[in-house]
Amino acid sequence: MSYKSHDEIFSSFEEISSSYRRKNQYFDILYDSTSSIRILKTRSEETISINANTSGIVARTFIGNWKELALKDIAELEIIKKKFPKVNNKGGEIKEFEGWKINKEIKPKIDPSEIPIEDKLQKIREIFEYITKFDERIINPIISYGELLTTRIFVNNEGSQLRQVLPRIRLFIQPIAKEGSIIDFDYFSVGAEGGFEIVKEVFDKNLDQVIQNSLDMLKAEATPSGRLPIILDADMAGLVAHESFGHGLEADQVLRDRSYLKNYLNKKVASDICVICDAPNIEGQYGSSFFDDEGIQASKNVLVKDGILKNFIHSRKTATEFNSIPKGNGRRESFAHPVFVRMTNTYFEPGYHNIEEMISEIKKGVILVRGYFGMEDPLGGGMQCTSKKGYLIENGQKTKLLKSITLSGSVLELLQNIDSISKDKLILRPGTCGKGEEDYVPVTSGGSYVKVKEALISPG
């Protein structure tokens, strides 16, 4: 990509954008640039790789369907003019929004670029050494550190001129423990929009607990199978909100006639105490932004209020079809990937209950801890959410540590069976979300403790 300042990019984009009249057709163009640093340290490798500002552009227009062209160089803009036909009176096929302007750079408290890479590497080596020496049963500490700086510049023929620079940091620590033939681990993950301040504290504080958790997993027992009362920790609650429930709310699935929630708008989908939201505008979260990749301003979307489904999640196209307001959920992995309706920061709002009381009410049940992975079933409303570990509850007491647990069944049944949500602070955990098996975007999901009267669990 030949170098241009953002003012020059705006100017070039304006020129091409204005050549397509809004009343005839919708047109937008996006510049995407990514710089990243990744450090991976394991027993057998130390990898430092830098992505030195790979960038590209993608333009699209709607002429009855989307035409989209992604190119590596801004010098190739003329190709777009050649490939995108000019049409008449198709502008109304995509709902028109008032153009707006923003030019924002998130300034981290501690700018990672001001910390020499050798210092970061040294810190990771120190963590590695510390974990290795903690206990001989730790056979392989895996430490992954990543910095990502994303710049997106967006112009459309509604007059929008947008630029955002978003720094993100993520740290993942996974001490692999082995005793005899048993191998297991726990992990610690932190990630957010911001700078080195996000990981600095972790470096100093949380290590012993992370390591001990991995060692404890060597003694963990298999979970009982069947229908039992369960409590989801914030991480697992978020996984259910996002993976099992949220994907069915993506309005492209509704438009495809492929969502189990299609006929549930303004109807009861969860117990009265449930409030579930998607909010791309929460400051400093891994899934946050000022605008999406369709130039829509990020704002909070209350999906479920008092158990009633209030809103779907929209792109420009689905908002047009359903005469709704998009909230900043049209997202791309990069310029080379398509826009889809995607979640951002998705969570259960905390409730009013006390976690100790919630546990004490269960005679035999399970707490599922650490949302590990999950898969959507937008048409069937089925659920697969797997926790990394859990705890058995016996006679109102948290007792044995359990290995990985898979939660399955009907998501609506689970949501209806929620009988308490703890008043603990909202916790959001970072991750990446795919649409099907591709197109990964940064997200968070979370909540507080959520108690379910009964759900199907089995070993994960």
Partner: protein
């Protein structure tokens, strides 16, 4: 054109007197049609390139490796990327490493020249065929689909005289078909990476997926069984075997002391033979050379239940004082990981039909929600999306829901039957295998 771009980078490396370097260059074209219902919702073209520079800094028994990815060919950016790369190599401390030298490579055709000549025309033809097929099945409703054509051109040059190039074409196909009856809904949602145009078989696939969607309307929750006999078809088996057995077979798993697999130990049932085959035509990872430029080859991993060979990339081969088996895979950040290429499980001695006939009570699992086993321990637990309950040698009724759980490393010791028939699935050529002692809960 790409040769000129590589030379631009190489000339800069040479002018800076960099002794050990590698340039990996990838030019990619993507052509995609997205369907909503059976209508074309979007047509997308992507044209991008990127390069990765790796430089080495030798430090006695260790090597520092610098890795920088970029896509700017501005001389000042190339210079800066090289300087950064050299700086990283000076600070990095890896085990001993050097770039591969020229070796004899298998001759494999990995790109379809007709498609390279007219990718837009080919995409249009296949998109029309998809539309015709999904429109033709009135018993189901298409909800969503994607067809994508990838054309890749890769170049690899290093300071040890390696100068390779290869083109590759392959496809992505995703179709969701919905069946409904009396208020009941079911879906067949299938995602496939397909290497050869002959294997696209749109009609055959849509017919099969239509039948799945229809059958699932009658699906019941499977009955629980702590010691179930379960048949895994190739597409499900791949998701179990590749991440676990593939990982435990790697030089990396051995050097990180994670695997318990020892050479010449019995690790699987007698009938189980697994091969890594980077030259397997029709499989997605079929190439003449791996991500570092070492030749792809055929390596016995497990033969008749005995663990025979580990799979090495250049780094772990040097560490193990052996040769690379062509198992270095280039990943997104430009680094190389030790990974499988394509896996093959040898055919068994029973026809699929006869295997089913021989099962008194069992389960055929055609699709899981996400069979994502823990690659270290091999344990897994996943929701059943599509399948059948087998009773007295027949597919008694379709099943959906409930969970299947087990451990892949134990499963391969519990092979019950292995079929003669094999099918491609992404980077695997596997038979149907029935396993004993898996757990079904509901």
């Amino acid at each position: 054109m790409s040769k000129e771009k590589i030379e631009l980078i190489e000339n800069s490396l040479i002018s800076k007197k960099i002794q050990e370097y590698e340039i990996y260059f990838m030019d990619t074209e993507i052509y995609e049609t997205e369907f909503i219902k059976s209508n074309i919702a979007s047509e997308r073209e992507v044209n991008k390139f990127e390069y990765v520079i790796r430089t080495l800094s030798q430090k006695g028994k260790e090597t520092g490796i610098g890795i920088v990815k970029g896509n700017s060919l501005e001389p000042k950016d190339i210079d800066k990327n090289i300087e950064t790369c050299v700086f990283l190599s000076k600070n990095n401390s890896s085990s001993k490493y050097y770039f591969p030298k020229n070796k004899s490579l298998p001759q494999i055709k990995t790109a379809d020249q007709d498609i390279l000549n007219d990718p837009v025309g080919f995409k249009k033809d296949i998109s029309e065929e998809i539309k015709k097929e999904i429109d033709g099945h009135k018993e189901v409703s298409p909800t969503f689909g994607r067809f994508r054509l990838h054309a890749q051109h890769k170049y690899l040059r290093n300071s040890n005289g390696l100068d390779l190039n290869a083109s590759k074409t392959f496809f992505y196909l995703e179709i969701a078909l919905k069946a409904q009856e009396n208020g009941k809904l079911s879906e067949s949602w299938e995602i496939e990476y397909i290497k050869e145009k002959e294997d696209l078989k749109i009609k055959e696939r849509v017919d099969k997926w239509t039948k799945i969607a229809q059958n699932m309307l009658k699906a019941k929750i499977p009955k629980p069984n702590q010691h179930a006999i379960v048949v895994f078809p190739p597409n499900v088996l791949k998701n179990a075997i590749n991440p676990v057995v593939g990982f435990h077979s790697s030089g990396r798993a051995y050097h990180e002391k994670i695997t318990n697999l020892k050479i010449d130990d019995k690790v699987a049932s007698d009938a189980f033979t697994l091969t890594d085959n980077g030259t397997l035509e029709g499989a997605l990872m079929c190439n003449s050379w791996d991500g570092e430029g070492n030749p792809h080859q055929i390596s016995d991993v497990i033969k008749n239940g005995i663990f025979k060979n580990r799979l090495y990339d250049q780094k772990f081969a040097i560490m193990g004082n052996t040769d690379s088996t062509g198992n270095g895979m280039r990943i997104d950040d430009g680094s190389v990981i030790n990974s499988i290429s394509n896996l093959e499980i040898s055919s068994g001695d029973i026809a699929k039909e006869d295997m089913i006939s021989d099962i008194k009570e069992g389960y055929l699992i055609e699709k899981c929600s996400w069979l994502n086993p823990d690659r270290f321990s091999g344990s897994f637990g996943t929701e059943i999306r599509n399948g059948y309950f087998i009773k007295n040698g027949h597919l008694e009724y379709p099943i959906k829901g409930g969970n299947i759980s087990g451990n892949v490393l134990e499963m391969i010791n519990n092979c019950h039957y292995i079929t003669k028939e094999r099918e491609f699935s992404v980077n695997s050529l596997f038979p149907y295998i029935s396993f004993k002692n898996l757990t079904i809960s509901s």
